[in-house]
C-alpha cells in the first residue's frame, strides 16, 4: 500500500508539493521559507511572519483580515517558526473547509491560495517600509513570547540545555530570536529583510486535500517568485566532545528538570539514520523504552522520562522531571541505560516492539495533514527523496548490530539541571 503520493512541480522560485487525499473535510496549504540560521537574521525572521500575518494591503487591520477569514467558514491561518538543524524555517498554514461538506457551495480553495499570495506578496507596506504601528505591536508580542519561555520551566530547561551545549554554534540560537536585537529593528529594516527573504529563501508550498492537480496549478498563477539557487549548509562540522559539561541552575521551582544532551554524529540522510531512530525508540522514545521502565516504573523517580532526536543536527536529548535529592540516582540510571544499549543489552522482542510502534507512529503522523508535511519536509532539509514507504521499509530493515554500532558513536556532551533553591544535598521529606 502506498502511503501518501507526493507530486512535486517546479514553479517559478518554489516547489509545489501536492498530496491528494479524500480523508479530510478541509484542504490544507503550508508555505515554508527556509534559510541558514544565523545571528544576523534570526530576530528578523522571528518577527517577519507575525507582521505578515497581522494585516495585508487589502486587509489593513487584524480585524479586517480575520473577518475575511471568518467569512470563509473560519479558515485557519497560523504562522510558526522552527529550527531544523542549522536552518531557520518560517511556516504559514492556511486550512480551509472543503465546500463539499457545506450547504453553501462557494469554491473555497482558490480563495485560500489567493489569500496566501496576498499575505506573501502584497503586505501592508508602502515606500519601502511596513506599517509602522503593526511592526511595533509585533515587536512587543515577540518580546513577550521570548520572555514567556522563562515561565514554562520544561521549555526553559530544554532551551537552556541547547544554549549551553551548543555555545558558539548557530544551533544555540532560539528560533524566536534574541531579545536584545528587537529594539533595533525598524519597519524599514524589516521590510528590507522581507525582500531579501522572499528573493533568496528556499520556498516550498504543500497543498493537501481532495483537490485537482491542474486546478491547483492554475490557482497558483499569482504565486510567482524570482528564480533562485538557495543557500545550503554543506560543511558538516562534528564538534569534538571534550569532558562532559555539568550545569546546575537554581530557581524557585518545586520539581527539578533534568535535561541531558548527547551528540549522535548521525543525521537524516546518513546510512545509519534509521538505526539511530531505532536506538532512540528502544532507549527513550516510548512507554516501553528503557528510560520509562527504569526511571519511572522501577525507581518511581519521575512522571516523565524520555528522549528525542534532533534529526538534522545529530543530537539526542533526554528529559525528566525529578526531585532534587534524586539527581545522582537519576543520572546514574540514565547513564546505565546508554551503557546497556552500547553493550547490546536489548532483546529481539524490544527491537520488534520498537519497529512496530515506530512505524505506527509514522503512519499516524501522516493521518494529519500538518504531520504529513513535516515528514515530507525532511527531504527538503536533508536534500533527500524518501517517501513515507521508504521510511517504513528502512525502519524494518534495521539490525541489532546497526543499533549497537550507532549507540557506540553517541557521546555525552552536557548535563543540565534546573533545581530548587534548597540545593541538591538537602534531604527534603515531601511525602
Amino acid at each position: 500500500m502506498t502511503v501518501a503520493t507526493e507530486t512535486i512541480i517546479h514553479k517559478n522560485g518554489y516547489n509545489l508539493h501536492i498530496v491528494k487525499t479524500k480523508k479530510y473535510k478541509t484542504n490544507t496549504l503550508v508555505w515554508k521559507m527556509k534559510a541558514p540560521l544565523n545571528e544576523e537574521t534570526v530576530t528578523f525572521r522571528a518577527l517577519l511572519p507575525n507582521v505578515l500575518q497581522s494585516s495585508t494591503k487589502q486587509y489593513p487591520t487584524t480585524t479586517a483580515l480575520r473577518s475575511y477569514l471568518d467569512d470563509l467558514y473560519g479558515a485557519g491561518f497560523y504562522v510558526d517558526l522552527a529550527k531544523k538543524g542549522e536552518y531557520h524555517v518560517m511556516s504559514f498554514t492556511v486550512d480551509i473547509a472543503n465546500e463539499k461538506f457545506l450547504k453553501d457551495s462557494t469554491p473555497l480553495l482558490q480563495k485560500a491560495i489567493d489569500f496566501l499570495s496576498q499575505v506573501l506578496l502584497h503586505p501592508n507596506a508602502e515606500n519601502g517600509s511596513f506599517h509602522e504601528e503593526t511592526v511595533e505591536k509585533e515587536k512587543r508580542t515577540l518580546k513577550q513570547r521570548i520572555q514567556s519561555i522563562y515561565d514554562d520551566k520544561m521549555r526553559y530547561s530544554s532551551v537552556r540545555l541547547v544554549e549551553e551545549m551548543c555555545k558558539g554554534e548557530p544551533y544555540a540560537l532560539d528560533a524566536n530570536g534574541k531579545l536584545d536585537q528587537i529594539d533595533n529593528i525598524t519597519a524599514t529594516s524589516l521590510y528590507e529583510y522581507y525582500q531579501k527573504a522572499i528573493n533568496e529563501d528556499e520556498l516550498d508550498l504543500y497543498i493537501i486535500g481532495d483537490i485537482d492537480e491542474n486546478q491547483v496549478e492554475s490557482f497558483c498563477k499569482e504565486l510567482d517568485f524570482a528564480v533562485r539557487s538557495p543557500q545550503r549548509i554543506e560543511a558538516r562540522t562534528d564538534i569534538q566532545v571534550g569532558e562532559p559539561k555539568e550545569i546546575k541552575e537554581k530557581q524557585d521551582v518545586k520539581q527539578g528538570k533534568l535535561n541531558i544532551g548527547y551528540r549522535t554524529k548521525v543525521r537524516f540522510g546518513d546510512p545509519d539514520y534509521f538505526a539511530l531512530q531505532m536506538f532512540n525508540g528502544i532507549f527513550g522514545g516510548f512507554s516501553h523504552s528503557k528510560l520509562f521502565i527504569n526511571v519511572r516504573e522501577k525507581a518511581s523517580l519521575a512522571y516523565y522520562a524520555a528522549s528525542r532526536l534532533e534529526s538534522h543536527k545529530g543530537l539526542l536529548m533526554v528529559m525528566s522531571g525529578i526531585e532534587a535529592k534524586n539527581y545522582d540516582q537519576a543520572v546514574t540510571i540514565i547513564r546505565e541505560q546508554l551503557e546497556a544499549m552500547r553493550n547490546g543489552e536489548f532483546s529481539d522482542q524490544e527491537i520488534e516492539q520498537t519497529k512496530a510502534v515506530t512505524n505506527n507512529q509514522l503512519l499516524e503522523t501522516t493521518d494529519t495533514s500538518r504531520g504529513l508535511v513535516e515528514i515530507l519536509y525532511h527531504n527538503v532539509i536533508g536534500n533527500e527523496t524518501f517517501s513515507v514507504n521508504d521510511w517504513l521499509e528502512n525502519i524494518n530493515n534495521v539490525t541489532k548490530e546497526q543499533i549497537v554500532n550507532v549507540a557506540s558513536k553517541i557521546e555525552l556532551d552536557t548535563i543540565y539541571f534546573l533545581t530548587g533553591l534548597e540545593g541538591t544535598d538537602d534531604e527534603k521529606s515531601s511525602i
Binding site: T26, T63, D70, Q147, Y150, D252, Q349, V357, D367
Partner: protein, 429 residues
C-alpha cells in the same frame, strides 16, 4: 446494530447497546491509517462522595483517587499493559477529567487484538498494596510538575475562586497528602462502583470493518459475567450561585504576569438539546466578544493589554460550568477591569450585531469540519456529549438555528457581576 446517516457530513455512525449495558459506537473512516478507540467511564474527579456498591451509606474518598485508579489499571500481575500494546504496534494512554476517565489506544495494525487488550485491561483490575505504594512516587512527581506550571495554577485558581463546595475546585490529581491515603481496597471500592459496563461507552473510529468489530465486542462482553447494577448514587453539596472569592493573586517564579477572568455559570442542570444549544450559544457569544475579528480584541491588542497567549473558553457540565477569558499581560489589574467591562456591556446588548453573528456561525461550522479531521476529537467529544445526553453530530444544525434573540438572551442571563471572579499570577518579589 443500528446506524445513523449524516448526509451533509458524509458520515455514518453505527451503534449497539450490549446486554450488560455497555454502549458501543463505531464511526468508519476511509483513507485513514489509524484506528482510534476510547473506553470511557462516566466517573471523574468530582465523583468523590457516593454510595459504594453493596453498601448503603455515602462514603467520601480521598482527592485524586479517580486519576490514581486510571494509572493503576495499566498494571497487571504479569506486568505492564503498555508493553502488550507496543508489541502489537499500538500507542496507548489514558486521561482523567472532572467527570470522565478514558482509556485509549491508536494503531495502524492489529486493531482487533488491540481493542481486546484495551477492553480486557479496563475490565480486569489488579490492585495490591505494593503496586499502589510504588505509584505514589510517580504521581507525586506529576503533581509537583503541575505545581510549577503557572498556567495550570491560574486555571485552577479561577475554579477555586468560583466554587465554594463543588469538588470541581479540587485538583484532578489531588495532593501529595491526599493520595497518601489511597489504598488498594479504596481503589476496588471506586472501581466496583463506577466501572460497570452500564456506566461506560466504547467508541471506535478508523478504517474498520464495522460488522467484525461489533461482533468482537459483543462476544467479548458476552463472555464476561456482569450482574445488573442499580443506579449509582452520587452526592454534591448545594452550591450557591455567587462566586466564593472575587479575587486571588498567586506569586510565582515567572517574568510575565497572567490574568484570567472567570464567570460562573448559572444553568448547570441542563442536558440534551437544551444543553447543546446553551453551550454553542455561549461559545458563539465569547467568539463575538473576544475573537480575533472583534473590535475588543483589536483594541486590547493595540493597547498592549494582551498578546498571543490570549484565549477564552466556555465549559458546561452537569453541576458546574464557567467561562474564562485572559492570558499573559503586563497590566493584570487593568486587563481584569477591561474584560469585566466588555462582559457587562454585552449583558446590555453592546458588541453584538447580526452581521457578526452570521460570520461567527460560519466560522464555527468550518471549525467543526476541521475538528472532524481528528479521530481523537470525534471519540472524546462524542463520549462527552453522550454522557450529557447530547449528540456531537447535531452541532451544525443547532449552530445554524441560533438566532440573534437567542444570543442576546444568553448574554443577558449568563453575565452577572456577582458571578465574576479574577485570578492573577504575578512575579514573586
Amino acid at each position: 446494530m443500528k446506524n445513523q446517516v449524516f448526509e451533509q457530513l458524509k458520515e455514518t455512525l453505527y451503534f449497539e447497546k450490549m446486554d450488560n449495558g455497555l454502549e458501543v459506537y463505531i464511526l468508519p473512516k476511509e483513507g485513514f491509517n489509524k484506528t482510534f478507540a476510547t473506553f470511557t467511564t462516566k466517573y471523574g474527579s468530582v465523583d468523590n462522595e457516593f454510595i459504594p456498591l453493596d453498601n448503603n451509606k455515602y462514603h467520601r474518598v480521598p482527592d485524586g483517587i479517580a486519576h490514581f485508579l486510571e494509572h493503576k489499571l495499566f498494571e497487571k500481575e504479569d506486568g505492564d499493559v503498555f508493553q502488550q500494546f507496543s508489541k502489537q504496534g499500538a500507542s496507548a494512554n489514558a486521561f482523567t477529567t472532572f467527570n470522565r476517565t478514558a482509556y485509549l489506544f491508536s494503531s495502524t495494525t492489529n486493531v482487533e487484538k488491540n481493542l481486546e487488550t484495551l477492553i480486557d485491561m479496563v475490565q480486569s483490575p489488579y490492585f495490591t498494596e505494593k503496586t499502589v505504594e510504588k505509584e505514589k512516587g510517580i504521581i507525586g512527581q506529576e503533581i509537583t510538575m503541575y505545581d510549577d506550571n503557572p498556567d495550570w495554577r491560574l486555571y485552577f485558581g479561577v475554579i477555586e475562586n468560583m466554587y465554594k463546595h463543588h469538588p470541581v475546585k479540587i485538583d484532578i490529581a489531588g495532593t501529595i497528602e491526599s493520595i497518601s491515603h489511597i489504598t488498594d481496597k479504596l481503589l476496588y471500592e471506586c472501581y466496583n462502583t463506577f466501572y460497570h459496563p452500564s456506566n461506560m461507552l466504547l467508541f471506535i473510529v478508523g478504517p474498520v470493518d464495522v460488522e467484525n468489530i461489533m461482533k468482537l465486542v459483543r462476544d467479548n462482553q458476552n463472555n464476561k459475567d456482569y450482574k445488573e447494577q442499580s443506579e449509582i448514587k452520587r452526592r454534591f453539596e448545594q452550591e450557591p450561585l455567587e462566586v466564593a472569592e472575587k479575587k486571588k493573586v498567586l506569586e510565582m517564579n515567572v517574568q510575565t504576569p497572567k490574568c484570567l477572568v472567570g464567570v460562573k455559570a448559572k444553568d448547570v442542570q441542563l442536558e440534551g438539546g437544551e444543553m447543546l444549544k446553551n453551550e454553542l450559544t455561549m461559545n458563539v457569544l465569547l467568539d463575538m466578544l473576544f475573537g480575533k475579528s472583534s473590535e475588543n480584541y483589536y483594541s486590547l491588542y493595540n493597547e498592549g493589554l494582551i498578546d498571543e497567549t490570549f484565549s477564552y473558553d466556555f465549559t458546561l457540565e452537569s453541576g458546574f460550568g464557567f467561562a474564562m477569558v485572559g492570558g499573559d499581560t503586563d497590566r493584570p489589574d487593568e486587563l481584569a477591569e477591561r474584560l469585566q467591562k466588555v462582559l457587562m456591556e454585552a449583558k446590555d446588548g453592546m458588541h453584538l450585531t447580526e452581521e457578526a453573528l452570521d460570520r461567527t456561525k460560519k466560522k464555527k461550522i468550518g471549525g467543526f469540519l476541521r475538528q472532524l479531521n481528528s479521530p481523537e476529537f470525534i471519540a472524546n467529544q462524542f463520549t462527552r456529549y453522550f454522557f450529557n445526553g447530547m449528540n456531537l453530530f447535531d452541532v451544525v444544525p443547532v449552530l445554524e438555528d441560533i438566532t440573534f434573540a437567542d444570543l442576546k438572551k444568553a448574554a443577558n442571563e449568563f453575565i452577572e457581576e456577582e458571578r465574576f471572579t479574577v485570578c492573577q499570577v504575578i512575579p514573586k518579589k
